[in-house]
Amino acid sequence: MSPAALEVRDLMLSAGDHHRRWPLVDGVSFSVDAGHSIGIVGESGCGKSLTLRAIMALTPGAIAIDAGTVLLGGEEIPLRGRRIRATRRGRMSMVFQDPQSSLDPVHSAGAQVAEIARRVRGLPRAAAWTRAIELLDLVGIRDAPRRAHDYPHQLSGGMRQRVMIAMAVASEPQVLLCDEPTTALDVTVQAQVLDLLDALRIQLRLALVFVSHDLAVVGSICEQVAVMYAGRFVECGPTLEVLARPRHPYTLGLRQAVVDADDGGRLPRAIAGELPDPSARPPGCPFHPRCDFADDACVQAAVELAVVGDDERRAVACLHSELVPAP
């Protein structure tokens, strides 16, 4: 069996100074195969974006990578050290949240895509421009030859995001990391971009890692889902199962907070409380202060992810997962 396109093992990131350090990402592991997708969902500040950035070698300087292994196509790539971004080039790409600030305002859309094709794939100028137009067309920009000359400020939000996706795909990666790519977009444009990512995944056999705070978005595009809380995965498994029958109270909470048009106008239920400050995590299970099912055992010791049921991909980190009702 061929190795997974991307495999992450026990990633640990922390912040702080020499007096105190606290974990921001606390032992995250997952894998994605080529042509498949996994979504990481959680509230802002849970560490999901940081996880992607660490994998992509884009962590901010103040944050330390304490441990972890990342394998691209079975081959380990370094997480620390100099010149590590070069190891991602042409193999892994990232799409960011805000297309307004992620595109260079002084270069045209076509130029930015062509530059990637030139630098990463070594295409000569003219060929790179042609490739850029091909890619802009691939991502659904109408009249690509003309629009390639447009500057970011002349493009709408949805189109800028498509340009970003074109840039990400221009380096012909095997893995595509997406950090809340549709959060800043209208719902209709979001639907188009999600369709696009799904189509590209199939067409180009990409391994897609999709991070979002919106369970509905992740639910609509990812085969596997991992729910993240305070730096850890608290539940993971095939999306349909996890959403239909969550086993962790937090997942249930996220599920109930979503207004699904199919639910017929049910008022969404918010989860009481907020994410804990990473520097002041509660003992034991970090979710227990907000949990309806918590008891003393939950405060005692940290709970690990444990496989539940027959499918070994399905795991929960909860002592009372049997108590969690269907949504």
Binding site: E43, S44, R142, S156, G157, G158, M159, D186, V187, T188, V189, Q190, A191, Q192, L194, D195, D198, H213, D214, L215, A216, V217, G219, S220, I221, E223, T239, L240, L243, G253, L254, R255, Q256, A257, V258, V259, D260, A261, D262, G264, G265, R266, L267, P268, R269, A270, I271, E274
Partner: protein
Amino acid sequence: MSTASQTTPANLVVRDLRVAYRSTGGGAILAADGVSLSLRSGEVLGLVGESGCGKTTVARAITGLVTPEQGEIELDGARLARRSRAQRRAIQLVFQDPFASLNPRRTVRSVLAELLKVHALADGAQRERRCVELMELVGLPAGALDRLPAAFSGGQRQRIAIARAIAVQPRLIVADEPMSALDVSVGAAILALFERLRSDLGLGLLLISHNLAVVAAICDHVAVMYLGRVVETGPRGDVFADPRHPYTRALLDAAPRLRRDRAEGPRLREEAPPPGTRPSGCAFHDRCPRAEEICRRDAPVLAAVQGQPGRLAACHFSHEQHRGGRPR
């Protein structure tokens, strides 16, 4: 819950509102082009549409921040033109971006107290008590009063913005995409807060969003806007079960679903044209899966839907039921 601030019922009627703004090119663009709405006391009206459809402009005009070229805004039958201070109290706005809608240099208390003072709603010790009350109403601790906005998360800031809006005891709140900048779970709490305030204080609420699903949760009526015009209105249940305008259908289809199969129905192609570039005839015809020749020529008028009382739609084919008649 404090019933001392029960509001008197408000009836908002907006008639043929036209609002223009100067574009960078120099010409004037009609952001709202003949919008008519009505909102009865204690009800929630959802105003839905994509970015650029003019809903924010309508919100600002209703709140009195922008002067319309044409049209009338009436509250309980009284026309609102140049508003007096007392008139301004009646309609308050909650903004989209909680990180930009609070003055970064003013504490929560100073902002609330200023409003109470200017409108002579409370004085001295009463003012202090009222500030604490307002915090309770929006679910924040009294200690929040003396902090600056930077100390709060997005959800908390939005609660502060809501406290600011209800401090002057308005009759109607216009909420412009209040949850768009927040996490889904945090947004759910804000939505619940709106619902609670509506039922406890009897406020009318105009909820603006680009996401129909969110609107579905608490709205009694829905109005859908496209390129500055209203294209469909009606009671929420009816509009969602049986949308009579193709754009409404597309919005419903676009909402992400928790089931992995993406919704059937053709996706909207491309995006809405920028404001100021209306296609001929029906503004939606170039993206519409149902469009025919007549749509290119004649702009349909917002008119009653055949056999469906209380519903309006601006489509030549509004008499047709949603394809497949699938309940939503």
